[in-house]
Amino acid sequence: MLEADFENLHCHLLNAGVSPRFVRRTLTELRDHYDDLKLDIVGQGVSVQEAAHIAGRQLGKFEVIAAHVTSRKELRRWSYRYPLMGRLALPILCVAALPIAPLMAGANHAQALVRWGAILMLSGFITASLFLAMQLSISLG
């Protein structure tokens, strides 16, 4: 069993909508299982190459493992489990997030916004004072 086989399984499961959390778990545990099998078989006096071959056969075909994982609805991402809900709820959530996003950004950069607001007010005050001075100089002749 080659590393490429594990990578193929990884991509296949993600594309089939399996939750990334379970894809990672499955791959990690399969790799560990494969290593344990190999070690045990080598311990019985079999060559490393032969042990790798036997371990791969005992672990099973990746197509079969993939079919078992993808057949379990509870291991899929929620948008794959409830596709209709995903299609309806996601746009609503996105629209709801639009007005919230600037507020969230504001909360995250509150200090910068206070500084920016203070400078804006100061410049407004200076501009207003200049206008007032100009107005007074015109009015008073």
């Binding site: 299982h33 344990d36 079969v64 078992h68 379990r72």
Partner: protein, 108 residues
């Protein structure tokens, strides 16, 4: 009225896994070896396909998983929850019901 049993027949790996994990917590490879041993090698689960079953049981709350470092390697150990014990009881009951039905049929 006789109960139908298709879900039970597909629940045999679950029954075996829950029964062994009810005795002690184990990781996948250990579990496969244990099942092979206790069933006298008459039942050998597909080694790679044990993980989707374990993950499914975990997702349904019948099992809980925890990472444990043993001899420099991090293993995922599974153990049965209260919900899992309840499910095990139900599966065992179903198994005995079917077994007695089949025994009666064979003895008849």
């Amino acid at each position: 009225m006789a109960q139908s049993n298709p879900p039970f027949m597909s629940g045999v790996p679950e029954l075996l896994l829950l029964r062994q994990l009810d005795v002690e917590e184990m990781y996948g490879y250990e579990l496969v070896k244990k099942i092979r041993h206790v069933t006298g090698e008459t039942i050998s689960l597909g080694e790679g396909v044990i993980y989707p079953v374990l993950h499914g049981l975990e997702q349904s709350g019948a099992l809980k998983a925890r990472r444990k470092k043993v001899a420099g390697r991090t293993r995922v150990y599974y153990s049965v929850t209260a919900k899992g014990r309840k499910r095990l009881g139900k599966l065992q009951h179903e198994w005995h019901r079917i077994q007695s039905g089949i025994s009666a049929a064979l003895g008849a």
